[in-house]
Symmetry: C2
Subunit: 691 residues, 2 copies
């Protein structure tokens, strides 16, 4: 380690080993942020008012994070966070991924189909209500009672207010439940995106690595009633040259960590979950790469899916490496040993380690069917089911119709009243659909499901009948009219009668496979999810007893604050200082994709100060979903946007290791240069108040 | 377990646990076959004369096994063992994979390009010479001295006799060395192959599974001096209905097992070797599947590579499952515990477990570079380097020229004098080359090498320069003339001067990357292979001391004999009797590939006795490479050919588990039916002396 402040070094020495958070470790909730410890560690002086302001300037945008940077709704995030929006707004002829999206006026800013943005306005404790709802119940009854109570709480708090979203968040794996209330913006417009290659220089090869040379930044703007939102609380733009060792805070919504898993649970992830996910993703990658080589149209269609897939895959590789690294596993084992030695005696007969150990053989057995048949429902971890957008829409329509015929509390949780408005927004959005690509993906999914579950699995027989994956996917994609948003809207609004009367082959197909797919989900909920949830809740209680509130909850895709320093890396094989410059970009370029400099960026070379810092690394705790997170100094000024971390940092999913943990940041200086010297975005430069 | 003979049950009870072979466990060498134990276990009465006859009737054919079935050189093996030969003899227009290859006369039998067959005639102990050659040496000097001594022994014994092959075989991981002498046939002709779908019904889905319905059999014929070889020693054809519980022997050349690996070594296979191999194979699979969908030509070109790749991949999946199965791992750990508790005290300071444990971090670090850059050299485990036939030819030409300029003992071992004739046979063979497919494979290899080793790895910089994998692979494949066997022969015969003067871009490319690729190989040999070999030899000595000769060596692709019973399976999720019938085939057919019955087989339905047994399972110990192995009864009659095993049996690579171990056999009855009732091969039927 280097560049420790004296305070940080002291903190590292005084903090105990075991499961309590160490120094910069922790993705903290805003209502339990360790202000004193952060100030002591970093030598800063933040307070509650600072926290409130940072929280209200933090924006959740889809699966990404973002930050308000003007009083007129302007928000900075990563370019990769708007890539799907850019793809949806592009055609093969007018391809903004190639040219960049550079509106000269606000009138030219264009709505991202289905895009929504949210700001966290309130946090309320609802632990007691949630625990009471599940008391005395087991299996699926437990899961459903909890889901129903969460739906009720959300509905009570937000009702049908389209400008709000309410979400019951499970923290500490069920140890606490909080109601998060968001102000919601449903009109989000793209205000700037660079050339894609400027944001992805080095492509998948440089992804999850450093040194890095990527302007992975873009701007969206929040609109209300057709006009830019008024947002007096926002970050101040600071484009000064960053200084090594500066304390920083990163505010965003990290997706999911699994640090509270027991050793037995981690081994199941290593042995069963990751191999399946990675192996089938790798095959899809091969299919899509070859597809993209078949012509310009195919290259255009497959670009966004390939980038997303490769990102997920590379993240998974980092996780596989973590869980097969003897040193890392020894650290995790030692943490569990410490915790068990302190807590297990008090666990009595209701020993959560024993329970979780007993669940793993079932999880190992059921995971393939759950992941393949119910992926993307939010229950399994892998969004593969159907492998196609049309399939996912058809499933939402069929299940939505079936579920809405029941009271909200009895439905599958994703169809509770409180969640319908977000679902509808996605379903009704106008998005391009590429049938050939859809067929490739659906064929892949059917074929992998058949392979992993075997031909003779009853669900596979139900999925395929006498058809092959090739035949079935071709027939369904050719015949469906769900690419038309009006058709989707009509089926949604027509309810079960309309769905059952539809002769759309994809709708009919989804109707025909409900028994098999719902059965595996029920089995999973009863035999895996419910006992896991109950035992995890018990484990959380023991953890609070043992370590007090010095523990932080696993990331859950909700707003968190982390802290650290601007700092390079000194790990063997990964040694570098914290900064890269524009000069380094031009040096690294070979001219061959993905190491070709984007044309406009290349043309601007003479206008750019080559010493301008482009990207930097910080030591704050991070995980996927932190993409776009504002990096803020102790004065609340924004210094950049988190857009990546190193591949070694992927172990962060399972445990924090300060030595290797580094987030990769695109600096406000680089963004300013891009806006001003490359893309001529003078309006935005003025709006940001560039000094 | 079911259908145990009383003798077998007794044997199971009396044999000790630990590392000594149990009951039917063991792929035994012919010079150490436990005749008495086999007879006692099975209730048979075989003797040395029986062993000699079976050995001299056993044929090694490429990576497969086979058996002589007539006095005129006729040999039965699996259809999948002749698939590459069939592909090489086919064109898109005359595609024998579709129609079957059914010569009505011997004159119509066609030579398999590059095909050779061998019969093991002699085994001599050369352990002392080999151990003496390595005495006192370490690192690469040790490896090279051993390789050189093996080359000398082989050359002394076989000289330049084209009708013989000599091979020094390392057994018990260096505990013993034996010189195997083979009679070699270099003119091998295809005498019959069924329609490919008849041999592969169910395709990849039914591969490694049972119940099974595949006529995976074919015939080749050995020729000498342009005439069928005279082979008075051969198996008698017995096409009687097989009987459950019959004792059987399987004779063939199982490829490679790793049962003598320590726990630390197994964990490295699980954590590093298998994930890399499987993940990159999965992506290639995706690329090839999509490629095959682009047109009839592409489908024709990619068929054989896809089948081979899917087979390797599925086998790897079975191995991953074995090494992530807590029960199986507990069994392996217990075996090691038993061995160490008996032997470790006597190991002294030269403790092989400690040594092997110390090697694993280096192996884990170097494996990706070794596998990706030096795959297919016989040193790494994965034949991926180059990903293309043209690349492998170019490497053989360039390295062959460089190495032949040195004395035999100083060369890379695959270029020792004793090994050149086999190498030349492969290099000069006339084989079709599909440039577009070659480009796809080479692009994949370059791209995976860059991804796994990273862009900034010196070897990757050397491989790619400023080009992308797409550009480089297209340029090399487009420009090379190595597809022409005359060009390859001229370069080989022209030696280093010709190679260095060549302006073939692929030759120039291979010349340019020798430094980088040879460097990783040297490092691997010095830091991984040599210390592993030395420690393994020590481990073998301890094993002999501890368990005597009741242990058998790991499979090494050389002739072995195993034994067991005709028997089904009673494992949860894998319950079935030992037989399937032609009736079952027609029942399972859906009409959609790969569950479509081959046209001629379908047309013959009325001529076939539907109760004829098609496939069966036996309990003998098996592994890949056993494909085509004759299944023989105690009278030395052939009952079928081994063509597969179940996916659970793949754990056989690491340890024998009698409960799950089952080989899948195509019966002589099924083959007789196919020859007589489907394909009208009356000549062969008469030659086999069908009763």
């Amino acid at each position: 380690m280097r560049h420790l402040t004296p305070a940080l070094a002291a903190a590292l020495l005084t903090l105990a080993a075991g499961s309590a958070a160490k120094a910069e470790e922790g993705m903290w909730t805003y209502d339990n942020f360790p202000i004193a410890r952060a100030n002591q560690t970093l030598g800063t002086n933040i307070d509650q008012a600072w926290l409130d302001k940072v929280r209200l300037s933090s924006v959740k945008f889809g699966g990404c994070s973002a930050g308000l940077v003007s009083g007129e709704g302007l928000v900075m995030t990563n370019n990769h966070c708007v890539a799907t929006c850019v793809a949806n707004l592009s055609t093969q002829e007018v391809n903004f991924a190639e040219t960049g999206f550079t509106p000269r006026t606000r009138e030219e800013e264009r709505k991202c189909p289905g895009g929504t943005a949210e700001i966290l306005t309130d946090i309320t404790d609802v632990t007691e209500r949630m625990h009471a709802a599940g008391a005395g119940l087991e299996g699926q009854a437990f899961t459903r009672a909890r889901d129903a109570e969460a739906g009720r709480i959300e509905q009570e708090a937000c009702g049908d207010d389209a400008a709000k979203r309410c979400q019951v968040v499970s923290l500490y794996r069920g140890g606490q439940f909080k109601l998060y209330t968001y102000k919601k913006y449903s009109d989000v417009r793209l205000a700037f995106a660079p050339e894609d290659r400027a944001a992805t220089f080095g492509g998948d090869l440089d992804n999850f690595s450093f040194p890095r040379f990527a302007i992975d930044a873009a701007f969206i703007r929040l609109y209300e009633n057709g006009a830019p939102a008024v947002t007096p609380t926002h970050f101040v733009w600071n484009a000064d040259k960053p200084v090594e060792g500066t304390p920083v805070f990163v505010t965003g919504s990290p997706g999911a960590t699994q640090r509270l898993l027991t050793q037995d649970q981690l081994m199941a992830v290593r042995d069963v979950v990751l191999p399946l996910d990675q192996l089938i993703a790798s095959e899809l990658r091969g299919r899509l790469i070859r597809y993209s080589e078949e012509g310009e149209r195919q290259a255009f269609e497959a670009m966004d899916p390939i980038v997303g897939l490769e990102n997920t895959y590379k993240r998974g590789l980092g996780r596989m490496r973590a869980l097969t690294d003897p040193q890392f596993l020894a650290m995790k084992a030692e943490q569990e040993r410490d915790f068990r030695s302190r807590a297990e005696a008090g666990a009595g007969s209701n020993n959560p380690w024993t329970t979780l150990s007993g669940v793993q053989p079932t999880l190992r057995e059921l995971y393939p069917a759950m992941a393949l048949l119910e992926g993307g429902t939010g229950v399994g971890t892998t969004p593969v089911a159907g492998g196609s957008q049309l399939f996912l829409w058809a499933r939402a329509l069929v299940r939505g119709a079936q579920e809405r015929a029941k009271p909200s509390a009895e439905r599958l949780p994703e169809f509770a009243d409180s969640r319908l408005s977000a679902l509808q927004a996605g379903l009704f959005a106008e998005r391009p659909v590429y049938p050939e690509l859809e067929q490739v993906r659906m064929e892949w999914w059917l074929s992998k499901t058949r392979e992993w579950l075997t031909v003779d699995h009853p669900a596979v027989r139900g999925l395929l009948g006498k058809e092959s994956p090739e035949q079935l996917s071709a027939r369904l994609i050719e015949g469906t009219t769900l690419a038309d948003p009006a058709v989707r809207r009509a089926l949604w609004e027509g309810g079960l009668a309309a769905v059952e009367a539809s002769n759309d082959p994809l709708i009919q197909y989804l109707l025909s496979i409900q028994d098999e797919t719902r059965a595996i989900r029920s089995e999973w909920e009863a035999k895996v999810q419910a006992p896991t949830d109950r035992a995890s809740e018990r484990l959380a209680a023991l953890r609070f007893q043992t370590y007090g509130d010095s523990v932080y909850p696993d990331a859950t895709g909700t707003l968190r604050l982390t802290y650290g320093l601007i700092e390079g890396s000194d790990v063997p094989g990964q040694r570098w200082g914290p900064f890269t410059t524009f000069g380094g970009l031009y040096d690294r370029a070979t001219g061959a994709a993905p190491f070709d400099v984007a044309p406009k960026l290349l043309a601007a070379k003479d206008r750019i100060d080559l010493d301008t810092v482009m990207n930097m690394t910080v030591s704050s705790d991070t995980i996927g979903g932190s993409s776009g997170s504002p990096v803020v100094n102790a004065q609340g000024e924004i210094l950049g946007a988190n857009f990546d971390s190193t591949v070694l940092t992927q172990r962060n999913a399972y445990g924090y290791d300060r030595n290797v943990n580094r987030s990769v940041i695109v600096t406000t200086g680089a963004v300013t240069t891009a806006l001003r010297d490359v893309y001529g975005m003078d309006g935005l430069v003025a709006e940001l108040g560039v000094r």
